[in-house]
Symmetry: D2
């Protein structure tokens, strides 16, 4: 094996640069050339790349975003796109391609494998943590700390005014950010997609929870963490409807894309470093068609299909303490 390539695809996540750095350092440790494709699969289609030396990854471990840029790329998923990508990889004599991204990126990886016989390795890079087979994804740890810092600030204001705030966090189909953010901010309520797969949250029950809370504690602050996509119109519309029903001021805060950026926290840098290094080792060992993840503090290899066939569950004990033991209504009876 002489030459490997790396690209970042899909939504960006803090720690992608740490993963790129790890791949470049490990690649050079084993005497390999490392190529970086730019703009995700677009770069693969348009042969847009740069050679990555160790000096190129100096001091990027602490940077958010991705030095290789990312993008969505529809044409890649066609047969023609797959053939073009394969031709480009062959032209550069690439032996292995490492793809850092989420669910969609891994589907892209499998698509590519129909046209190209080189090794394809995936790294889970997404803040949503919604990839099966790995305990955490690169970017997830930073995203919950970012959400937490914002909610801690809102708590100051909520307390000062004894007000109700709805905080909308990312996680369209997965409540990992939502549940973690709720537990660690001491939120009074949390609405997660896993809990509302076939129905909407019950508005009346939400109103009663707020009212009971205020009976128990007197007027006080109340924070509800809401995953995006749970309520039609989002947290803003839900806030309006609650305000109407409770005659109490309810304010929405939409954390939005702030959650994707920022310097990665230590755990994301460590995870990215381990997975990136191991990806190079796996490629050298002739592995392909796998995502490198971490389970129970050990690096593991997961066939791409397994990353999406099964849905990773929320931590049931964490859910239990948030919904039961720490619930201020149940807690005070």
């Amino acid at each position: 094996m002489k030459r490997i390539a790396v690209l970042t695809s899909g939504g960006d996540a803090p720690g992608m640069n740490a993963a790129i750095r790890a791949i470049v350092l490990a690649g050079h440790y084993f005497g390999l050339d490392v190529i970086g494709y730019r703009h995700g699969f677009n770069g693969l289609l348009e042969q847009e790349y740069q050679v990555l030396q160790t000096s190129d990854v100096n001091n990027i471990i602490q940077r958010g975003g991705t030095i290789l840029k990312s993008a969505r790329c529809k044409p890649f998923k066609t047969e023609e796109g797959g053939q073009q990508a394969a031709a480009n990889l062959q032209a550069l004599e690439i032996d292995a391609l490492i793809i850092i991204g989420g669910d969609g990126s891994f589907h892209g990886a499998v698509h590519l494998s129909q046209f190209w016989s080189g090794a394809i390795i995936g790294l889970p890079g997404t803040i949503d943590n919604d990839i099966n087979g790995t305990d955490a994804t690169i970017g997830y740890y930073t995203a919950i700390d970012t959400a937490l810092e914002s909610i801690d600030k809102v708590r100051d204001t909520a307390d000062a005014f004894e007000r109700i705030f709805l905080i909308e966090v990312m996680g369209r189909h997965a409540g990992f950010i939502g549940l973690s953010a709720a537990v660690c901010s001491g939120a009074e309520q949390v609405l997660l997609p896993e809990l509302y797969t076939d129905r909407l949250p019950d508005l009346q029950a939400l109103v009663e929870h707020i009212q009971t809370a205020q009976k128990i504690r007197g007027k006080c602050s109340y924070i509800m963490v809401v995953s995006e996509n749970i309520w039609p119109g989002g947290a803003a519309d839900l806030a309006n409807q609650l305000a109407e029903k409770t005659a109490i001021d309810c304010r929405p805060v939409i954390l939005g894309h702030v959650q994707r950026g920022g310097s990665p926290v230590s755990l994301d840098r460590i995870l990215a470093s381990k997975l990136g290094a191991y990806a190079v080792e796996a490629a050298r060992a002739g592995k392909t068609g796998i995502m490198i993840g971490e389970r129970n503090q050990k690096v593991v290899e997961v066939p791409f299909e397994q990353t999406w066939l099964k849905t990773k569950a929320l931590d049931p004990y964490l859910l239990h303490i948030q919904q039961e033991m720490f619930d201020l209504v149940k807690n005070s009876q």
Copy 2:
């Protein structure tokens, strides 16, 4: 003089606790009793208060929010409300009342002075910095750093995707947060209330600026800082309209109430400490009807009326460099 009281009113701001602490420490230094009214003017109407010892303000200098709570209070502004407040202050034998808040709170102070002959001193506590007679208001410095940290994070994502983001910041009638946040985040565009007093921003001009920027630099990230209230429907609607016209993805990020909270930065703690201490000295010296502010690094006394009769202007040189010299279009011609 034997007894002073303090309350926080209007929107909360980081540093209010530092101001309360300063008032309590200074009060005790001069041998005064210090009373804290809770929930702003509501506490005054309902005689809801607590005695404040120095031990009560231990370790609050670093806390966001306000230990005295805040609230809006409509009944206070009636004649009956003023009389009730005056009676309560007399009942407690308060000699001076220090009010920490914004514009509306100072109007409340003047209203109260019609019914009560004690000394009334104001401290400017609001993130918006929209109070004439003081270079900065308590909370403003923290708010711009909070906005900045979020925009820095969005920049990571914007860069990775070479995308356009609209960041909505607070400041309904004043562009201080908006201008500062734009300059220090290196934003490509900024929309401030001072620049659009009688018209909407020109959508076509905004589109052209974006398109010219992309011609000059190639595809790249582009950040527009937008003060709330500038565009009907806010930054979210403006993003939609820009996206339609440019056929480019435009994403809104609404910073919202996050900007009001958080541990105050050093300058807000210093400002609050100086103004709070001086407010007690002013009250002892028989002053009344004034806000304590800071101009050119000196503590100053400003009659309440002057705080709202004149509108404080944005820094013209800062506006000039943002709009002219650092404008990437003008800069590249």
Copy 3:
């Protein structure tokens, strides 16, 4: 079971308050009284305590330190001390005692069990992560992020001046903070207690690594993370000796007690919440003589003796990538 007590002992760690909160909330959920002893085992000896209501733990999840205070306590470890503590616990009709602390605190727990028949449960609270049987200790995650933030800042200066910095981190007998901080800051060198159990680091080898690094990369910044206690006189003396030998400026930075404080990061809050809640459940289930920890994302029960009889090992893969693959000298050959 009617009444439980909690205390914090040994060095404080971020997340201790989150654990106290979890214990109080879970206690009240099960209808128990919760007593908080103050100043660690001292409070037990002197019957210094407070009743803890759910309102007492409002908004403490985000606070560093411990609302119950901590202390070292020598008299407790005598027979007389143990008897006094037992008598006090009986006088208050305590059924179970939960001790949040490190290694020394668990020895204290075992000592107490000789004199008192109530349930004794431990929670691992220490930044050092040096407790066997749990993947992480409460406070560890925050400590590495705190160290990391400081090292990131030093890197700015090191880069600007192309200078050598030695960063001394906590961890007298365990290199967890040191190794994690080194990997996630991209440090060029790391000195950990596990690697130097029977000898000092080889000064000449350190000098040569620096010199080779500078040959390879040209003049550049170089950061060495050093666990406290590795070198006689600490990082400051080591820096002096390196400077003498290399004729290059070497600066020490001693992070010190800054690492113990700060608002806990999300993972410490989550860990503390889970372990605290489970501790109450374990006590209700009649368990005693155990620490509650977390392994492989599951809450586990660990007999006290096992927490110290075996030494928890550093992650070998993390050590490998730091020492081998990411080593800039080995990496460039």
Copy 4:
């Protein structure tokens, strides 16, 4: 005027990159070439430079350190050095040189002016704020927030253990960082160079202050901010001596070079942007031999000699409240 050059010299400071960016953007706005010398005056002597395009300063406003690197340079201060520098500037046809640095750098500027007739403009870049003629220096605002964040963390631990901590901050000859950090952290004591110009602090008085504090408040935390260089052997030795005299645990924390790094806070970015832009305007207007500073929120021009001939004083009111009104001993009598 066709071509300007810029360099950073002396200790680095957060915001130097923001100043470089402002100079490059303003330079291009006026159609000038901009050259960046590397490694301070060394680059000038060795003609080590790079052309700076606007794309080179994209996204550097938020970075600590300096992209142009800095260095100390002794040979420059000789006559030969001055002549060499002048020759190099002429060879590149530089019309104006902008020097970002502190006191020593401005002496270098004056030295250079004996040999070169081009315009020389200085920008105050140092965390110490010890330059006369400007209210603040670039980097100062960030440094006090960095110090503050660390002290806030130490306060957590100090409180938990009711312990005494000495925090050593930078500022060898100027107490700006020390005084600000003390006020905004609510420190119980502060030792500043301005207060001890001709003698050491009185150890016995320090001991008595601690003991009186503990009589008044009971056992509690106590934080003393100490400027470097005040006590022989630094805060570490002072802590030892206090511990001996008080028989109480006194711990030193040396903040060190952490204070120089980090992403600049908003005020440093704004100051750097204004001063950098104005420096280019001043050069175009034929000005030379001046530092650009800011006083009373207006950009000002200050002849180099005035920047060091007079010593800038600490804010007397800030000193007064810290030493008198907020002193917990005086405050409780």
